[in-house]
């Protein structure tokens, strides 16, 4: 893990403020808010599928002005605190920042990245429900899964040339992407994502999970186990693309909890749960025709 360069620190200050959201959520928010009687739950369903919008809501809700007794890690809770109309208008503001273009100078497919993030989120939640219900909150695991690779969107937006080189370096040298990022950019996406989460005073367990999902030596927690394992399963199945393809040499992230055979663990997921997660995610990532 390396430190952030002063230049990247500076960029991070305004990073997410100006960051556009994903095409489907922007389109849905604009559609929904045209109708004054739109259902609040539909707005929530859109926001909680978009890592950028989710990040932005958490930034607002965890700000010092609300000095809330507990840190907020769910969009539902944010609605209770701020009211659905405020959330709706915030989302409309996010939509006004435009949409992330699918392709970019980094050569990173943002929609396949979204599919990866959504399925990791869903699988992390499913793993928590089935195997760690008393130890990890399934909702927190979903959010951690959704946001675990947020640092990559930051790279795409603000260090696209460097990220392009890191992706190429990883491929040429058969290295995990986070290792290539450390070599080429000087810092990996986990550190960058966690830096933002920390700046906005997200809860510690969420910051840790984002930072440590590629740190084998990090202190284990049920939530980290679920997120890392979900990430592996999704890459193993080649669903979406995080820029970091599955390698047969990978050690299982949480063998003690989930065993060491991804195929076997997938078979133990509740029947149909993975298919449902993938189907919903593909619609949202607008990849229905692709796979």
């Amino acid at each position: 893990m390396s430190a952030l360069t002063p230049e990247l620190e500076r960029k991070l200050d305004t990073a997410v403020e100006r960051m556009p959201a994903f095409p489907r959520s922007v389109q849905r928010i604009l559609e929904l808010t045209r109708n004054i009687n739109c259902l609040p739950k539909e707005i929530v369903a859109v926001i909680e599928k978009d890592p950028v919008m989710t990040m932005k809501i958490f930034k607002v809700i965890n700000s010092a002005y609300y000095s809330l007794p507990t840190k907020i890690t769910s969009i539902g809770q944010s609605v209770v605190y701020l009211g659905i109309n405020t959330i709706k208008n915030l989302a409309l503001g996010f939509a006004a920042a435009g949409i992330l273009p699918r392709m970019n100078a980094a050569g990173f497919d943002i929609q396949r990245y979204l599919l990866h993030s959504l399925v990791v989120a869903g699988v992390a939640r499913q793993l928590a429900i089935q195997f760690a219900d008393d130890e990890a909150d399934p909702g927190d695991c979903y959010i951690a899964g959704l946001l675990h690779d947020f640092g990559k969107v930051v790279f795409v937006q603000f260090l696209s040339a460097e990220f392009h080189d890191a992706l190429a370096y990883a491929k040429e040298n058969s290295l995990p992407l986070h290792e290539a990022e450390r070599i080429v950019i000087g810092v990996d996406h986990g550190v960058v994502g966690a830096r933002l989460a920390k700046r906005w005073t997200f809860p510690a367990h969420l910051i840790d999970c984002i930072r440590d999902h590629h740190q084998p030596a990090a202190a284990a927690s049920a939530m980290l186990d679920c997120v890392r394992t979900a990430d592996q399963l999704v890459r193993f199945r080649e669903i979406g693309d995080s820029g970091n393809p599955w390698r047969d040499t990978e050690a299982p992230a949480a063998a003690a909890r989930f065993g060491d055979d991804p195929e076997n663990l997938l078979a133990r997921l509740a029947p149909g749960s993975l298919e449902k997660i993938v189907a919903e995610a593909m619609v949202f990532a607008q990849l229905a025709s692709e796979q």
Binding site: V60, Y66, S67, V79, V80, N85, L90
Partner: protein, 298 residues
């Protein structure tokens, strides 16, 4: 402590023969602490007659607390005459608007754009200070302490609890008890309800030992189903709430602008009937309809 109502109407002023008994001005409540500190809650059109009264008591030192910045709660602010007179000191408090990304200092700046009002803020000669408050953090004014609490309305809305020498009064501003955004059959219903219950429990805890609650009672329970999400409470709901947390006096305010005095009294009587409070002081709870000029001493 003394509480005086200068505006009790919701949404828009409603002058005329049908509202003469309860009044047509929008929200403004004056609170005087035991040692005379002046606290004003909201600056609806009711703040104008209050301003006339204050001109007899110069210099004015006032702490104004905005529950939120919807028009009916700020409309009278530029007509608060003490703002124009040197030597007066006015401190305006309110919450942080997350959608605009700004604190309460924007309240008059937005309102006084030149196309909408002839005087600029810079031309107001009183000492004007703004203070953006954080949820739950009390501020001291003389011998009173004011605590902002986060309630539920389409814009960030603070309810304010005032404590003074062991007595307390709470004003909700505009508040709709948190509705569940899911249908009972939806997957998210139970979890969301749990969050709401937790939020309500926290608020109830912050209101422990309350003497007077002044609550948004815009609607009747029968009217509410077609107004869910509009950000207002009901007569019946507020009575049940006040009763549950053991408030001594509930004052129902934010009267619907379309409701005549007679209709308001009918709705009030029906609500008392429905909630089992038809005979006076059931369970020790006194329930009043807010009326312009009404004064409560505690």
């Amino acid at each position: 402590m003394k509480v005086r109502f200068w505006g009790v109407r919701g949404s828009i002023p409603a002058p005329g023969p049908h509202t003469i008994r309860y009044g047509g001005n929008t929200t403004c409540i004056e609170v005087r602490s035991d040692d005379g500190a002046l606290l004003i809650f909201d600056a609806g059109t009711g703040i104008f007659p209050l301003a006339q009264e204050l001109l007899k008591q110069m210099p004015v030192q006032a702490s104004i607390y905005m529950t939120h910045t919807h028009w009916d709660h700020i409309q009278g602010l530029p007509f608060f005459t003490p703002l124009y007179i040197p030597g007066n000191s006015i401190r305006i408090h309110g919450g942080y608007d997350v959608v605009a990304g700004r604190g309460i200092e924007q309240v008059m700046e937005v309102q006084l754009q030149y196309s909408y009002f002839p005087v600029r803020e810079a031309e107001m000669k009183a000492g004007i200070e703004y203070r953006t408050l954080r949820v739950g953090e009390s501020v001291q004014v003389g011998d009173a302490s004011v605590t902002p609490l986060l309630l539920n309305h389409p814009v960030v809305n603070f309810g304010y609890r005032v404590d003074c020498n062991g007595k307390s009064v709470f004003f909700t501003g505009d508040h709709e008890p948190w509705p569940n955004i899911y249908d009972p059959a939806d997957e998210g219903y139970a979890e969301f309800q749990q969050m709401i219950d937790q939020q309500q429990a926290q608020l109830d805890q912050a209101l422990a030992g309350l003497d007077i609650m002044i609550a948004d009672c815009s609607y009747t329970a029968a009217e509410y189903p077609t107004r869910i999400g509009w950000g207002h409470g009901t007569l019946e709901g507020s009575i049940a709430w006040a009763s549950r947390i053991g408030v001594k006096t509930l004052v129902c305010t934010h009267h619907e602008p379309t409701r005549s005095d007679d209709a308001l009294e009918q709705a009030f009587a029906a609500a008392l009937e429905h909630t089992g409070h038809a005979s006076p002081a059931v369970g020790g709870l006194e329930i009043l309809l807010a009326r312009e000029g009404m004064e409560l001493i505690l």
